[in-house]
């Protein structure tokens, strides 16, 4: 189905673009906006694959993803975490965005090289084959974001971006994964955002900052 390939390819391209955008965004608010756009691409890819393969599980998952990630998570986070935090510019203080984007490209190539043999073994040239590659890349790019960010909210969004990557691959390699498990996982994400939002607020109130890189009081032993 050439149209399905083209439409899904468009959403995958968008997913990858917004993964890069999350890494390069200088303000916390920019990271959140890019995460919302990335989640919309994930939901759209699930709808496209669901419509192409007539799998109602994928359509249901797309709907749940659409509600939980681009809608519920920003609501939960903006309500729980003080607004000033979203205006913080933190990236230039750690890794320069240009350097980060080069690292992101290297990680994307690595994801391609790792997943290509797997796709060849068990998937073949199907509609969702590219989902596996982009999904693995999303996982690695989210992990990279967790390591370079200094603020609590971008770190949390990095973890959620990793989950987006895992699910983007999942809708292709496990489209009929038990729906009860997928629904529970999808509803678990807003709960996660709620609890981490509360923890971030507690940190802001008790320590006066949400800069997690300043939390170094417990470092003690080193084997080296």
């Amino acid at each position: 189905m050439p149209l399905g390939y083209a439409v899904n390819g468009l959403f995958l391209g968008g997913f990858l673009f917004f993964s890069y955008r999350m890494i390069a965004a200088r303000q916390v608010r920019g990271v959140l906006t890019a995460f919302v756009a990335q989640s919309l691409c994930l939901a759209a890819s699930a709808f496209t694959l669901g419509a192409s393969t007539m799998l109602w599980e994928l359509l249901a998952l797309g709907a749940v993803t659409f509600i939980s990630k681009p809608i519920l998570i920003p609501i939960v986070l903006t309500r729980l975490v003080p607004g000033g935090i979203y205006e913080i510019r933190e990236l230039p203080r750690t890794v320069h965005p240009r350097l980060s984007l080069i690292a992101a490209v290297v990680l994307s190539v690595l994801a391609y090289l790792v997943t290509l043999p797997l796709v060849a073994v068990a998937l073949g040239p199907t509609l969702g084959a590219a989902n596996v590659v982009v999904g693995f890349a999303g996982l690695l790019l989210g992990g990279y974001q967790v390591t370079i960010r200094r603020e609590a909210i971008p770190q949390l969004l990095g973890i959620l971006a990793m989950e987006n990557g895992a699910f983007l691959a999942g809708i292709s390699i496990a489209p009929d994964f038990p729906l009860i498990a997928e629904l529970a996982i999808a509803f678990d994400i807003p709960l996660l955002a709620f609890i981490v939002g509360l923890l971030t607020r507690a940190m802001h109130e008790q320590i006066g900052t949400t800069e997690t890189s300043s939390l170094t009081s417990l470092r003690e032993e080193s084997i080296w």
Partner: protein, 485 residues
């Protein structure tokens, strides 16, 4: 349906926390709920030992011998942790009723999430239960609301959730591998039934993703860095749950996957498990020697024991499988006892520093003896229970001809043993009086509930090394047979 009664008790106790009028009954309710769960778990375990697997919902919820062992361990350790909490929370710097309600609600919900892991047989649900254990314990770690506690909670959250995300992709890859083998039963047994026909590259990637992802939660090196922070900053009864059972129930998920991937030659599952296991034991042994905080000391001991259990499981064979499960049981009881002793020392001294605690046995006979017993028991001194299970593991390694693995394991255990006893010896018998560094208020005497917890907690750590009850032996053998197949 009796299976659902076990998590129902702590769930009811958690709901009680929603009513402000019931706040003063929460310690008692939590303890009674845990005790009731223990009794039902023992009843179920006895039934399984006699009649085999108990299936509540086919393909979703079932309990076999290994799950039954885990259920009994979780509920029994929780009962004692609830008793210790009764004396600890509210009398030691956590006076507000709001904190007490938050504590018990989180405590009970955390226990419910742990109880779900061994009873679900569908890997996706097991992943959700593991994720819930993290989410429901973050505020237990952060409970003291200090800079250190919040820092520990943040590290705990970041590393374990990052790991869980990696693990979920691993489970999706397992599902992919199962579909590639034209099967449809996505359960532990279903995966095992088609183990030989699933593509090896997928199994390898899936297993490594779960091992690394859940390894972060178990505390395997190099993803262990959150563990000493979280396990030292959380209230002591919570440390008993985190160290004694939470790490173990997550490791249980990895143990369920091992028999599925072990026999596929290209996956090298046992090799990966041995590498992660031995590196964890070795690194933890050297960190035990270096640490200056006695709660971190026991936390590093948890990293060591998780490594021992993983290595034991990777050795393979029925004797090693028996040793693995026996070690899980002994570690859970002994480590939780160690944290009760550490909690008692903290209440008396007000400091977590090893150098700040000297001559403990003169200040409090029960705390000093408990700390010494706990250290001896968890380090693996004879005749304590951990010694017996570690001996089983080492014998199994030699019997399987894995001399390098066994020698390294024995060497690291000895280093950890010496480090642990050197540290605790100074605390218990050192000459200087116990100092209060003013970080937290110190007490002259321990609350009765804490003293009773210490006395009861010592019983399994000592007695299981001397006497093996026949019904427990039969259940362990049945569980080992399932793990070794």
């Amino acid at each position: 349906m009796i299976l659902f009664v076990i998590p129902a008790f702590p769930l009811l106790a958690a709901l009680l926390g929603a009513f402000p009028r019931c706040e003063r009954y929460l310690p008692q309710a939590t303890f009674i709920a845990a005790l009731a769960s223990t009794i039902v778990s023992l009843y179920i375990a006895a039934g399984i030992a006699a009649h085999g697997v108990l299936i509540a919902f086919p393909h979703w919820v079932a309990v076999d011998a290994l799950s039954a062992v885990l259920l009994c361990v979780i509920t029994a350790v929780t009962t004692l942790a609830a008793l210790f909490s009764w004396g600890y929370v509210g009398t030691f710097g956590h006076e507000t009723a709001f904190s007490s309600r938050v504590y018990y609600a989180n405590f009970n919900l955390f226990v419910v999430s742990m109880l779900l892991i061994p009873v679900v047989v569908e890997p996706g649900l097991a992943w959700i239960a593991v994720e819930l254990t993290t989410l429901l314990s973050i505020f237990l770690v952060a409970f003291e609301n200090t800079r250190g506690a919040l820092e520990a909670a943040w590290k705990y959250m970041t590393i374990t959730l990052l790991g869980a995300t990696i693990a979920v992709l691993g489970f999706l890859v397992f599902f992919w591998a199962m579909k590639a083998a034209h099967a449809s039963d996505f359960t532990w047994d279903g995966l095992r039934a088609v183990a030989g026909t699933m593509p090896a590259p997928l199994l390898q990637v899936g297993f490594l993703l779960v091992l690394v992802g859940f390894g972060a939660k178990v505390g395997l090196v190099p993803l262990h860095t959150w563990l000493p922070d979280a396990h030292s900053q959380a209230p002591s009864p919570v440390c008993a749950l985190l160290s004694g059972i939470e790490t173990t129930v997550v490791l249980y998920v990895i143990l369920r996957l091992l028999p599925i991937v072990r026999e596929t030659p290209l996956v090298h599952a046992s090799l990966w498990a041995v590498i992660f296991g031995l590196v964890s034991v070795g690194v933890a042994a050297f960190l035990i020697v270096q640490t200056h905080d006695y709660k971190r000391l026991f936390a590093f001991s948890t990293v060591e024991h998780m490594g021992i259990i993983l290595t034991a499981a990777a050795i393979g064979g029925s004797l090693a499988a028996y040793g693995t499960i026996w070690q899980i049981v002994n570690h859970a009881f002994t480590k939780s006892f160690c944290f009760y002793a550490a909690g008692a020392v903290l209440m008396l001294s007000g400091s977590r520093e090893i150098t700040a605690v000297r001559g403990l046995v003169e200040r409090s006979r029960i705390a000093g003896v408990a700390l010494l017993l706990g250290a001896l028991a968890i380090a693996g001194a004879p005749p304590f229970a951990v010694f017996s299970s570690e001996l089983d593991v080492l014998k199994a390694g030699l019997a399987r001809g894995q001399y390098v693995t066994t020698s390294l394991l024995a060497l690291f255990i000895i280093i950890a043993f010496v480090g642990m006893l050197a540290q605790v010896n100074r605390m218990v018998f050192g000459l200087a009086p116990v100092a209060n560094h003013g970080r937290t208020p110190s007490r002259a005497r321990l609350p009765l509930a804490c003293t009773v917890s210490l006395v009861i907690g010592a019983i399994p750590a000592v007695a299981l090394g001397l006497v093996m009850p026949q019904p427990l032996h039969a259940l362990l053998q049945q569980a080992a047979a399932g793990l070794a197949q």
